[in-house]
């Protein structure tokens, strides 16, 4: 079974810099790590490969330093890694990202059985890229999947949609996004990481995919624009109490009573 997993490099800190002109994130020179939800997706892929055999290919779109998450995935056990990187991809929103990944998957994943995406990223935070890629590839998709069994022409899955548990079969090739359930990702092998050659990650640019798609990707191909960014406006009408006051406990109880959230028990 050929499995392809899409993974993304995200900022490792909460202190993200936003470009005030474009409203997009400054990714240059930031501390970065693999999107934690993609670690779960990867682990799901490795466990499936161990059960049924086959290979795991990892793909990431991002700046050249995103190479690091692909190497980490190789050290965890992936068989092949591809970085999709080009200046033209900068400033991509969901649709432009999905188009770029769909072009890549058509090229290198045409023989794949299953595409696995993380539930969401911790920076983009939309949980939209996976389903959008499935639409563009015109293949069936299921979100929030927590178990996968392989069959000849289809996979059998269980998905958790709120309080609804749905079991279904999906025809291959298909795309799933992984429910962020408890699954401990394996650690990368230090030895494998050290022995990776400099060309372990294959690099693809726009010209390798479709040079004519320039206006369909990156900021040019993104239907959404950030109009402005601003600090949240909030009211400051709160009552402020001094936590050092000796009757602070009582003051809080009084507040609950006033708000009709507590009442004194009258013993009759």
């Amino acid at each position: 079974m050929k499995i392809v997993v899409c993974i993304k490099q995200v900022p490792a800190t909460q202190e993200v810099q936003i470009d005030p002109i474009t409203g997009t994130m400054k990714r240059q020179g930031m501390d970065a790590k693999m999107n934690p939800y993609d670690l779960i997706a990867l682990e799901q892929a490795f466990q499936l490969k161990e059960k049924v055999g086959g290979s795991v290919t990892v793909i990431s779109m991002g700046p050249t330093q995103a190479d690091a998450v692909l190497r980490e995935a190789l050290a965890m056990g992936a068989d092949q890694a591809i970085l999709v990187s080009d200046r033209a991809f900068g400033g991509s929103d969901v649709l432009a990202t999905a188009r770029t990944l769909a072009m890549t998957l058509r090229k290198v994943g045409s023989d794949a059985d299953l595409f696995i995406f993380g539930h969401q990223t911790t920076d983009g935070d939309t949980a939209q890229v996976g389903p959008a890629v499935a639409a563009l590839l015109d293949i069936p998709q299921a979100s929030l999947v927590r178990s996968i069994d392989n069959h000849d022409s289809f996979i059998e899955i269980e998905q958790k949609l709120g309080s609804l548990i749905q079991r279904a079969t999906i025809k291959k090739p298909c795309l799933i996004t992984v429910d962020p359930h408890e699954l401990t990702p394996r650690l990368p092998s230090y030895w494998r990481l050290r022995t990776l050659t400099s060309d372990a990650v294959q690099l693809l640019g726009l010209a390798d995919l479709d040079a004519s798609a320039k206006t369909k990707v990156g900021i040019l191909g993104s239907p959404t624009r950030v109009l402005r960014i601003f600090p949240p406006q909030r009211s400051t009408k709160s009552v402020v109490l001094d936590g050092k006051a000796s009757d602070i406990g009582q003051q809080l109880v009084e507040d609950l009573i006033q708000a009709h959230l507590a009442e004194r028990v009258i013993h009759g």
Binding site: D125, Q128, A135, L164, Q250
Partner: protein
């Protein structure tokens, strides 16, 4: 496919309904409420798309809550949730209605369907908006917390139509029910080819009702200020005394302190309880996005400049490790019922 949707051939707002247990999910009525509000600045009809099996009777309900026209997509193939065919039939219906704006609930179902639909329509979709408005140019302003940092962003879909946005439950309010609404309900004829799915649903089971924090009427939230063992014990003791559920900010979930279903915020759950007590929580925009509509908010934080104090109705500038025990004591001694 029919002619592409553009600025000149689209108008009005379409709410995509979600059907749950053969009724309209509350988020549908909330979105209709917002649509009524937006329609004051945006010409065109308010429509509602209802899809599923045996759902025609729900149309009247949508009219009572602000829809002017209802399009019903009813077929037994649409009984179980299958994103491929559902997105395809909605795609057809959107081309029929030609709305300028499409709103959809950011529920687990909406969140897996909306991006597929946006992919088919090749248009923009903004996830988890916390506010919507219409600009002077007639564009939908989609407000949501921006990538990291304590910052909000206004996002527009300039040249593509429809402009799609998803919104969590409990962000907007339905209008009061209209007694004798006039409006039209129309059935949409489905092309059988669109109902060929690659998905075969084997079973659907409702998980035993786990108490979800989204339904709790009282919640105590632990943040990084109380993330050690003693702090968490205090939070649980307070929650028990207040008859409240316990929830967490994201960093605690990342440390494995709670399950992600107990995370409040942009990437967690949205809550609007009667009482929310935030202990050692700084009040980031991402956190606020999930709890800003709570009816009574009490915050305890040792930093007088913490952002949480601009959200709270009552703020206590103090140390949780001394304030919480005193609060519990006062409740116990006075024999209060909560």
């Amino acid at each position: 496919m029919a002619e592409p949707l553009t600025k000149s051939n689209t108008s009005g707002i379409c709410v995509i309904a979600e059907v749950e247990h053969q009724t309209l999910h509350p988020v549908t009525l909330e979105l209709l409420g917002k649509a009524v509000d937006l329609a004051k600045k945006l010409p065109g009809p308010i429509s509602c798309l209802i899809y599923g099996h045996d759902v025609a009777s729900l149309g009247q309900w949508a009219l009572s809550f602000g829809a002017q026209q209802v399009l019903v997509l009813d077929h037994r193939e649409l009984a179980a949730f299958r994103t491929d065919i559902m997105a395809s039939v909605l795609h057809e219906a959107i081309h029929d209605l030609k709305p300028a704006v499409v709103l959809i609930g950011a529920t687990p179902i909406g969140r897996s369907l909306a991006p597929r639909l946006a992919g088919l329509l090749e248009t923009g979709l903004t996830a988890d908006c916390t506010e919507l408005d219409i600009s002077d140019h007639g564009d939908l302003i989609q407000r949501r917390p921006a990538w990291g940092g304590n910052i909000m962003a206004d996002i527009v879909t300039q040249n593509h139509r429809p402009q799609m946005a998803s919104v969590r439950p409990k962000i907007f309010t339905p209008i009061p029910e209209i007694a004798n609404p006039n409006g039209s309900i129309r059935r949409f004829a489905l092309d059988p080819d669109l109902l060929l799915s690659g998905i075969n649903v084997l079973s659907r089971t409702e998980e035993p009702m786990t108490t979800s924090i989204s339904d709790a009427s009282r919640i105590v939230v632990a943040g990084l200020g109380v993330a050690d063992e003693t702090g968490l014990e205090l939070v649980h003791a307070l929650a028990k005394r207040l008859n409240a559920a316990v929830a967490y900010t994201r960093p605690l979930i990342e440390r494995g302190i709670g399950n992600y279903t107990h995370q409040i915020g942009l990437s967690g759950r949205t809550v609007a309880p009667d009482l929310l007590v935030a202990c050692g929580v700084s009040g980031s925009v991402q956190f606020a996005a999930g709890m800003g509509k709570s009816k009574h908010i009490i915050a305890i934080n040792s930093d007088p400049d913490a952002e949480i104090f601009t959200l709270a109705h009552v703020g206590v500038v103090g140390d949780c490790y001394s304030v919480i025990p005193q609060w519990i004591d006062a409740l116990d001694q006075g024999d209060y019922h909560v």
